[in-house]
Symmetry: C2
Subunit: 181 residues, 2 copies
DNA sequence: TGAAAACAATACAGATCAGTAGTTGTTGTG
DNA sequence: CACAACAACTACTGATCTGTATTGTTTTCA
């Protein structure tokens, strides 16, 4: 399978999984939406769970690249470097069809069922926590609060599904700026 | 159906929904685990989604009672009144089988499928935000940060599934205490 | 051009899904 | 005791689930 076709398949699968959930999205729906035959799909992914893992791994890599880019751009700006990452949340949470964090959604659905999926979500969150810690120390701030910053980050994403994010984001960036003062 | 039996049924359904997810939990599994016949179940709940809504509504009432109790107990203690609510999270997140927030999990699974379930999660989060705002103003603090406090609260719950909550909770209560100073 | 792999389409297997019909207890009430 | 209402059980419907077998076509690459 060409890389482009594989990407197209993963695109379709990710969109359906994200919108409708993992258990509620049948392989038939992915087949119908992607045009790729079920036989072919199962030739490249042993099971549906393997496809889900591939979707999640690709999405995690993409998210990490994006976060790295945002973190690099703000280098030397103190707490504003963190605030820039939260600013980016505004766009994502307000995008149509926003349904929270793909990885946390997956972890919730597979909590008692597929440890590999939960572990992937765990690693992804740990990576973000480490990024936050690095940013904080590089900017001369207290790196120990990184876990709390991550909680804020994930909390805003979770709430963004059912609430406007602006109030939380506003108070949050105020906090982050207070860190610098 | 007696109230006790209804409660027992909702207990079983809630436990299965919480552990395995809503779509992954079949009505047959609830029947087998509760001993209540499927006919009876469908006599009292028109559809599976109605059962889910009943489970969520009961759980939301229980959670609100618990939060109200914690909020009342800390009256007059300033930011510590909020910190007490976060302290309670420690126990919940460390309990075996902890799988995040039942309402956010439900909202994620039914986001594109059942607006009533999403709306219930929305109302529950709004209620908590209002509680936090009331506590903050009653304690002479800035009520406008309530949405951010809620984000912290929900973020810790979301992360509690895949991470130890202690670091985030520690930094978080430090923040809350700094609010008082 | 020819061989080999990958592909699509269809049909199917076996299990499970939500939900229902009908019959047999079982229980509470006059 | 007799009656009425509810609950349990079994069995079933039709749909949908993951995953596979089959067959034939297209692509690829030497």
């Amino acid at each position: 399978m060409s890389a482009a076709k594989r990407d197209a398949l993963l695109d379709v699968a990710e969109a359906l999984f994200y919108r409708d959930g993992f258990h509620a999205t049948g392989v038939d729906a992915i087949q119908a939406a992607s045009g790729i035959a079920k036989t072919t799909l199962y030739h490249h992914f042993k099971t549906k769970d393997d496809l889900i893992l591939a979707v999640l791994e690709r999405a995690a890599e993409r998210a990490r690249r994006q976060l790295d880019k945002l973190a690099d751009a703000g280098r030397g700006r103190g707490a504003a470097r963190l605030a820039a990452i939260f600013d980016d949340l505004r766009n994502e949470c307000q995008a149509p069809g926003f349904n929270g964090c793909l990885f946390n959604n997956a972890a919730a659905e597979f909590f008692s069922r597929n440890p590999a999926i939960v572990a992937l979500a765990q690693r992804h969150n740990a990576w973000i926590a480490q990024l936050f810690a690095r940013i904080l120390t590089e900017e001369g701030l207290n790196g120990a609060i990184a876990p709390a910053v991550l909680a804020l980050y994930e909390g805003i994403i979770a709430l963004g599904r059912v609430q406007p994010v602006e109030p939380a984001l506003g108070a949050c960036t105020a906090w982050l700026n207070a860190l610098a003062g």
